[in-house]
Amino acid sequence: MEKQNLLDIKNLSVEYKTEDGIVYAVNELNMEIGHKETLGFVGETGAGKTTTAMTIMGLLPTPPGKVTSGEILFDGRDMLKISDKERRGILGEEISIIFQDPMTSLNPSMKVGDQIVEMIRLHKTISKKDAMEEANKLLEMVGIRRERANDYPHQFSGGMKQRVVIAIALACQPKLIIADEPTTALDVTIQAQVMNLIKGFKETLGTSMILITHDLGIVAEICDKVAIMYAGQVVEYADVESIYMNPCHPYTKGLFNSIPKLDTEEEWLEEIHGLPPEPTERIEGCSFSPRCPNCMKICKHKKPGITYIDEKHYVRCFLYENQEVKTDE
């Protein structure tokens, strides 16, 4: 807590105006990432993970999106307040992003080499030739032959495209990489390769990373911290060990229980019942209450605040309010 975090998100709320009403995509979200830390960002589809990522980068489409409260401090600067020019200096240079679907995240009419060069030349004053050489090196680093710099994206497989995307993201050695489900769109066999690649770079370059994923196994393997997101809110935030040893929020417990166990016949031991709330409705009380097995009377009327289980582990749930001592036993 004493040293400054790389990224500090405080009370962030984001909504979308749609024809069906206002979608409350992110609600008073709090989280932080230290230098060289990797945060696993876990939650069901529609929980608001991508929205959060895009908001951090200042790339939220407005309209329909709108930030209604909060601040995003990156290295001391509030990303919501800086000028476009300042942001353009940060994007790519200090924060970069890897999108979910490599099939669509490269420009189809540009050679892949040129797409890497574009990134390099935006942030470094070097000649085209030198930039090309750097791009070739980056390609080799991610396991693609340098000659392929002259090919177009459609000549690559999904896995190789994602490698190119990673090369672009790494080009300026950013302080923070946001990886939005970087492997979900890939074949299962390739997922592990790409994940290992990401893991390797994260370690050698010492970048911080936000890894958005559904896969708690991957989180255990490469993350230092975890934020569990539900209906636009981080409901539990902790060190990886802490959350695996002592999951507190009923939703987190449900997530861990729904991991398929290989040694049992049933595929899902115990799933979380019901569906996430409609994003356009605002639930009075705890947003998880309609599905929570531990739901109490108070949960229906009041929103739970943040309760610290220990210094690096917080949860938003009434079960722990005023009784931290009990769970610490």
């Binding site: 790339l59 476009d84 420009n107 189809p108 574009e118 177009y152 672009i168």
Partner: protein, 307 residues
Amino acid sequence: MLKFTLKRLASLLLVLIGVSFLVFMLLSLTPGDPVRMMLGESATPEAQEALRKEMGLDDPLLVQYGRYMKNIVVHQDLGTSYSTQRPVLDEIMNVFPNTVQLAVAAMVIAIILGIFLGIISAVKQNSLLDNIVMVLALIGTSAPIFWIGILMILLFSVQLGWLPPSGFGSFEQLIMPAVALGMQSTAVVARMTRSSMLEVIRQDFVKTARAKGQREIVVILKHVFRNALIPIITVVGLQFGTLLGGAMLTEVVFSIPGVGRLMIEAIKQRDFPIVQGSVLFVAACFSLVNLAVDLLYAVVDPKVSKE
């Protein structure tokens, strides 16, 4: 690529044969006797009969058509004008440059203005500006050329006296016809540019470009516009064909000596060879432009050229 080109050329030939046949048959059905037009009402039946025989007009239609096609293929001869007795091809080539100049001028206006307006309204989607441009485009596509042309003449020539109402040759004389003719195409190009840009603008690679810290104007032109280009090229190509057709109307309104006026005059005088020749000629231009557009795809879209 070569195979593709040859295939397209073959189908182009088929189209032209079909067009020539249709026009030939249609003209033979139209009332009015060219022989009587040429000799005047007072000519004796014998004289008419002699001329008809000389021109081969009493042969069966199919024989006449066969002869016509043979002359085209073997001698590159589209026939002789009934009224001037000069080769049809010469008559067309005499005025064709004027039509092309008019169509190209209109096209340039349509491309520059249409793309510019389309990009602006896509980038500012749903803004007041976007709405204004789209309403104008709707008016542009639905207002007939001759109406716009006449209004323009009334305003700029009769009322204000800024521009000459007719004739061809000088830059001033080109402005009004080109604008009147280009109006519809500008609207079509603007609408296509807008919708194609909007299609591309939501794609992920645009976010990738922005996430690099690229300036918005570069994102729009280099990443979005480049990928929105294919449908735009298609309409531009198709518009060029339409413009050639529209040029005919414009030529009549502004008294410009072009293929359109040539054709209209020929219809009035029952000068069938000219009518046939011009239609065939315009159809050939239209098809060639479309072929050129298809080949252009290959340059723009790397996927096509690799196939």
